[in-house]
């Protein structure tokens, strides 16, 4: 597991930065909850929301208006935006995994060691998955902490913690899909310089496609299937709380991961060191 060890060692700073940013952000945004926890505020939000068209509400995840006086629903609403950040981190981790060392030239050191390309491939994949899983763990831990700090009197903690666990599982699932697609990109692209652009483009492009599908579902026949292009719509935090994740999304997500990693593996075996 030397490649894993080396790769994880090299990723630890970036993981720390991403986890710290999300930890501070979760705590900061959850600090608004006490001010939301009033019937006046709930009425004001309902009134404001009614001014938007159904398509706009759909686009902002407000189609079934959350009850912001319940801390877990407020948290779930926030988490749909944190899921975007998580997806970006997953896609960047995957897209950097193989091309990063080729661009920096350190891959020559790795290739000169007694290790096969298959080992390099899977240990780097494992390292990226581990980093992303630890990121999700940090999100969950700071989410639990935020609930403990900002909860209202009478909050059902076991329900709230259960909700956070499910939402974090969704964050892990969607992030791993982007990580796998990023991994495939990592074999295809020629330089690390384009990673951030491609990763964020992948996340926001698919998210917009999914939002478009939902917004115009009633107006354009068949457009709903576009939602399968958007992993972030497979596990929308509010939906996870209310209905869970549809099995078709789970299978599609797993299929995307499998195909992406399989293709990446085949292409990586044929890939030559840049001269």
């Amino acid at each position: 597991m030397n490649v894993f060890r080396l790769d994880f060692h090299n990723q630890r700073k970036s993981l720390l930065v991403w986890a710290s940013i999300v930890a501070v952000s979760v705590l900061s945004f959850m600090a608004f909850y006490p001010s939301m926890n009033s019937t006046d505020m709930a009425a004001a939000i309902t009134s404001q929301a009614s001014a938007f068209s159904p398509e706009m509400l759909q686009a902002f995840g407000l189609d079934s208006l959350p009850d912001f006086t319940r801390i877990i629903e407020f948290y779930a609403y926030l988490m749909q935006y944190f899921a975007l950040a998580g997806a970006c981190y997953g896609a960047i981790l995957g897209a950097n995994a193989l091309i990063g060392e080729e661009t920096s030239g350190t891959i020559e050191y790795l290739y000169a060691q007694p290790v096969t390309r298959t080992e390099i491939f899977f240990q780097k994949l494992l390292s990226a998955v581990t980093s992303y899983s630890l990121y999700c763990l940090a999100v969950a831990l700071f989410s639990y902490l935020s609930i403990l700090v900002f909860k209202a009197a009478g909050t059902d903690l076991s329900n709230a913690f259960g909700g956070i666990t499910k939402i974090t599982a969704g964050l892990l699932f969607t992030g791993l899909i982007f990580l796998a697609v990023g991994f495939l990109l990592s074999v295809l692209i020629k330089s690390q310089k384009s990673v951030a652009f491609l990763a964020t483009g992948l996340v926001f492009g698919t998210y917009i496609a999914g939002s478009f599908a939902l917004a115009f579902d009633q107006k354009i026949d068949g457009i709903r299937y576009l939602i399968y292009l958007s992993p972030l719509h497979y596990a929308v935090p509010a939906d996870i709380l209310s209905t869970g994740v549809e099995p078709s999304y789970i299978w599609t997500g797993l299929g995307v991961m499998l195909v992406s990693v399989g293709l990446a593996y085949i292409l990586y075996q044929k890939k030559d060191l840049k001269s």
Binding site: N2, R5, L6, H9, N10, K13, S104, G105, T106, E108, Y109, Y111, A112, Q113, P114, V115, T116, K270, D272, L273, S275
Partner: protein, 300 residues
């Protein structure tokens, strides 16, 4: 059985030639110099040997094992110094050396004394981060990580680039000492004096092909560089009846320089018939050999 055996190894980068049917052997326990100008194919050949690049055709074995079919087994016995050293910038030198040992299934704790010894020989500060090192110090780290695990074969791609003379001396002293213990060494270089001082054989590579392999340890086939100035304006040509072979290096007016391999007595008899005004006979240096190969020398 040779430690390295390369047969018709070919590698093109698109239309650009890297190695073009390289064929060469390196015997067990020798120090082999790999000579050629920039772009001749030295680095490509070494990278093909390590499996860093995939050959278009041909084959290469190290210790009798195909370098692509069982690269792990082959690389477990090799230390490699790249021409362009690019390691992990944030990593401490000590961590890099430990990582190399771990890759070679060695426990770093068992190699503390060896690590200390290598760092002292090459004046390396193991506490430094790689990105803070100068070009020469990066090269020293590359050398240290190539030898730390006691490999049976060391491949060095222009190892003395950026090294000060003291460390160059330490490097070759160290290589000579591990060679005496049985380690086979192949290094590429532009520095012909270091090749001559350290190698038993040297291969000249030009346009991706090995054009000659020299036995530097033997004087039997020592070629001479002969400069003859003719007393008249007649032409000059070496008759095929001479027992040796010659190659014209340079002609200026009536002054001809050529190098000659073979018995010089018949040659001198022949030259005396041309009524020369001057004849200069010198042992051919590796430098003149290098120039003759790479400045487009032709047969006399």
């Amino acid at each position: 059985m040779p430690v390295i055996s390369i047969q018709n190894l070919k590698k093109y980068y698109g239309k650009s030639r890297g190695a073009d049917a390289v064929t060469m052997d390196v015997e067990e326990g020798e120090i082999y110099g790999f000579i050629g100008p920039n772009g001749a194919g030295k680095s490509t050949t070494i990278k093909l040997l390590l499996g860093l690049l995939k050959a278009d055709s041909g084959s290469a074995t190290i210790f009798g094992t195909d370098v692509l079919k069982d690269s792990r087994a082959v690389k477990s016995r090799i230390g490699y110094v790249p021409g362009d050293v690019r390691y992990y910038p944030d990593m401490k030198v000590s961590y890099l050396l430990d990582t190399t040992l771990r890759f070679h299934q060695k426990n770093p704790a068992d190699y503390r004394a060896k690590t200390k010894e290598i760092c002292e020989i090459f004046s390396i500060d193991p506490t430094k981060q790689f990105e803070s090192l100068s070009l020469g110090n990066k090269k020293k780290v590359a050398i240290a990580q190539a030898v730390i695990h006691n490999p049976d074969l060391i491949l060095l791609d222009e190892p003395t680039n950026g090294l000060d003379p003291l460390i160059q001396k330490n490097l070759f002293d160290y290589l000579q000492s591990v060679n005496r213990e049985g380690t086979t060494i192949l290094f590429s270089s532009h520095n012909l004096s270091e090749v001559k001082a350290n190698c038993r054989r040297a291969g000249f590579i030009k346009d991706g092909k090995i054009i000659e392999t020299e036995d530097l340890a033997s004087n039997e086939h020592q070629e001479k560089v002969i400069t003859v100035t003719l007393g008249n304006s007649g032409g000059f040509d070496l008759p095929s009846s001479l027992p040796g072979t010659g190659r014209l290096l340079k002609q200026e007016d009536r002054k001809y320089s050529f190098h000659y391999a073979g018995d010089t007595v018949p040659l001198l008899s022949y030259l005396s018939t041309l009524a020369p005004s001057d004849i200069l006979i010198e042992d051919e240096s590796l430098e003149s050999r290098f120039l003759s190969y790479y400045e487009g020398g032709k047969k006399a």
